[in-house]
């Protein structure tokens, strides 16, 4: 047997091994994609109801007497007026057969708690409405919403159903008369948090996240890049610098909750900074992101070919000039990618923020970095914890929003890398 034959015999085995390896690789990728798809499909289907909202159209008589208002009333008196009265009157008019106290209360809960505020805002906007009768669409209560969207099964026996027969019959009669409609739920994006699922929105959390990230970016990016440049280009090689390097690497591995405790002890208790504020959240998160950005920036700086530094030095550039004119621009794509990865990490972080009180229930939309607020992942956590049926969809919808931001940030990272990347 000559060499060719020996080689030929071993070939089959070698190709087989290669095939097996390729198959295993494809299998693992396929599995990963499958799980990702299941997750996405599950979340998306669950989130869909949160993006639409059921509305009930009612002819409302804005009786000036009942409201105790007229066209010239001050805004303050309008704020204090009880608009519930006219909505209840309208509902009673629809279903005149309801007379019992208990049944009445049940009837009034067809519209959302927010209906009176909706009406109030309309009247404040246009006081001439007072005294007129107008058909107005009100947000339906989350139970009604659930029935319409089919998440409460109407065929179940009454005892197993959250919405009782009487209420169901009202809903069906309203449906028949065409007074019930569904539309896109703008409120989800324009409202803050609420106890009522149909009124709860994500805007507060989105802005809270935004303020937190801005603080994080403003603090961690300059500090981390400066630290990376110093360590990589200027620091003398000695024990002390080695010690610092090791500790930066260790810092990256510290559990994030520890940073939260640190934030609570130092920033809130010692420096008396406001609780639940994006400012403190941002400071804590920047502590956590710093090592990530430093490590990424250092490796980006290290990857800049030494020939570029030598070229600049050879022309008589000072060390500083060679770093800032040539090394930094060349390392920028890597630094930005590292920064965005760090930011994405910060965006998804929950644990340290729990410690500094950003887990509070906050209805108001934050206007600045010192207003109390919450952030997206904590909003998800809060909603997931709520018993109301309507919050299930909201949770999934909030997760979708969070994922959207993460994907968008990664896309920006890729775009920046492509844009600044230069061949040499």
């Amino acid at each position: 047997m000559n060499n060719t034959d020996i080689v030929r015999q071993s070939l089959k085995k070698r190709y087989l091994k290669e095939q097996i390896f390729k198959f295993m690789g494809m299998f693992s990728i396929a599995t990963a994609i499958l799980f990702l798809l299941i997750l996405l499909v599950d979340i998306t289907t669950k989130a869909m109801p949160a993006f639409s909202q059921t509305k009930i159209a009612l002819p409302i008589n804005l009786d000036a007497e009942k409201l105790g208002l007229d066209a010239n009333s001050s805004t303050e008196s309008m704020m204090n007026a009880d608009f519930r009265l006219v909505i209840r009157a309208a509902l009673l008019e629809q279903f005149p057969e309801v007379t019992k106290r208990k049944a009445k209360r049940e009837l009034y809960s067809l519209t959302s708690m927010g209906a009176e505020f909706q009406l109030r805002d309309m009247v404040i906007e246009d006081p001439s409405l007072i005294g007129q009768t107008k058909t107005i669409e009100f947000m339906a209560d989350d139970d009604v919403d659930a029935v319409i969207k089919g998440s409460i099964d109407r065929t179940l026996p009454e005892s197993d159903r959250r919405v009782k027969d009487q209420k169901l019959s009202w809903i069906e009669s309203l449906e028949k008369s065409g007074q019930i409609s569904t539309g896109f739920n703008w409120n989800f994006f324009s409202n803050g948090d609420s106890r009522e699922p149909e009124m709860a929105g994500i805007k507060g959390a989105v802005l809270g996240s935004l303020f937190t990230l801005l603080v994080t970016l403003a603090l961690s990016f300059p500090v981390a890049v400066a630290a990376a440049i110093y360590l990589e280009e200027f620091a003398p090689k000695n024990r002390f610098i080695d010690f610092i390097e090791i500790n930066i690497n260790n810092l990256a591995a510290v559990p994030s909750i520890v940073f939260g405790l640190l934030g609570l002890a130092v920033f809130i208790n010692f420096f008396s900074m406001p609780r639940s504020a994006p400012l403190v959240g941002g400071i804590v998160l920047s502590l956590m992101t710093l090592p990530t950005i430093i490590i990424a920036s250092r490796s980006a700086i290290k990857a800049v070919p030494p020939s570029l530094r030598e070229a600049a030095l050879g022309l008589g550039a000072s060390k500083m000039q060679s770093v800032f004119h040539h090394v930094l621009p060349a390392a920028l794509p890597g630094i930005l990618t590292g920064t965005i990865i760090g930011m994405a990490q910060a965006l998804g972080e929950t644990a340290p923020l729990l410690m500094i009180g950003m887990v509070a229930f906050i209805v108001d939309i934050p206007q600045s970095a010192v207003d109390p607020s919450t952030v997206l992942p904590i909003q998800v956590y809060l909603w997931a914890d709520s018993p109301e049926r309507g919050f299930l969809a909201k949770t999934s919808a909030a997760i979708l929003v969070l994922l959207f931001f993460l994907v968008a940030m990664n896309a920006i990272a890729i775009y920046l890398r492509k844009k600044f990347e230069k061949k040499w």
Binding site: A312, L315, G316, W424
Partner: protein, 291 residues
């Protein structure tokens, strides 16, 4: 035929006197530098230079003058210290922490390692061209303009434009790139990139240009252009060139210095080194017996 001649043919003389090449036989003859290391109008004058990397001595007691407006080639096998020596001349070795230079290196009679000497100023006077063409990832114009800009050599844009054009013309590149001065320098061919790097160096108007194997990454045509350029540049500059190509050293230089194991073995007129080297090691290296 003469009997003695026949005998010689049967047993060639060389076979009798040749001895096996061993490390010992190569290392024994470290004497003082052979040839003429000194010259009358020295631009650089190095005396008893030792260079250490930590505890490792890379250069041993090198004494060598580099004359004004001459092209001197440093040759020798890999790791012989010629590049290290070159880098001591503009203190590029400063960037290496463990590197230590001893002895005296005088530029126009002044020690460049004296406390008062600013390395940045020194590098503006002693420019360097590297082995691999390394243009900045910027436009051709910006590459050449960078040096004059950081040193503030020009007062306004039009002066800078003129300086850039002059440098490109001197580097023999202007005709090829005049229509795309703002195209990236990295888009040029290897030979053009190297000439761009030379233009960039000339733009600072140094007195000495150090070249570290400037053509080793280039094809023969591009190499020929670089060599032609060196020939033209010697009118205005003193050029020290490290090269692995002995033919290149023979073609471009007036003097040649041969380094071996960190020692300067022989210096002499290039004509003499390549026809009749005085030292046995030089002879062995340039005739291809080791290295």
């Amino acid at each position: 035929m003469n009997e003695s001649v026949l005998n010689e043919l049967a047993e060639p003389v060389s076979r009798v006197i040749s001895k096996p090449e061993t490390e010992d036989s190569l290392n024994i003859e470290y004497t003082a530098t052979v040839g003429q290391p000194l010259c009358d109008d020295a631009k650089f004058s190095t005396k008893n230079v030792d260079v250490y990397y930590a505890d490792n001595q890379a250069i041993h007691d090198v004494t060598l003058d580099i004359g004004a407006n001459e092209v001197i080639a440093l040759i020798g096998p890999s790791g012989c210290g010629k590049s290290t020596y070159l880098r001591t001349l503009n203190r590029m070795n400063d960037t290496i922490d463990i590197c230590r230079v001893e002895g005296q290196i005088l530029l126009d009679g002044k020690d460049i390692y004296r406390k008062k000497q600013d390395p940045v100023l020194l590098r503006a006077r002693v420019g360097m061209v590297f082995q691999k063409p390394n243009p900045f990832p910027k436009s051709i114009y910006d590459n050449v303009a960078y040096g004059p800009k950081i040193h503030g050599l020009t007062r306004n844009k039009s002066e800078l434009d003129d300086l850039v054009e002059e440098a490109l013309i001197k580097a023999g590149l202007f005709q090829e790139v005049k229509d795309r001065l703002h195209a990236p320098g990295t888009g040029l061919s290897g030979g053009q990139q190297q000439r761009l790097c030379i233009a960039r160096t000339i733009a600072v108007q140094p007195e000495v240009i150090l070249m570290d194997e400037p053509a080793s990454a280039l094809d023969p045509i591009a190499t020929a252009k670089i060599e032609e350029l060196i020939n033209e540049l010697k009118e205005n500059f003193t050029i020290v060139i490290v090269t692995h190509s002995m033919q290149q050293a023979a073609r471009v230089s007036q003097r040649t210095a041969y380094f071996h194991m960190g020692r300067l073995i022989e210096v002499g007129e290039t004509d003499q080194i390549f026809t009749n080297p005085a030292h046995d090691l030089t002879e062995k290296y340039i005739t291809g017996r080791f290295g």
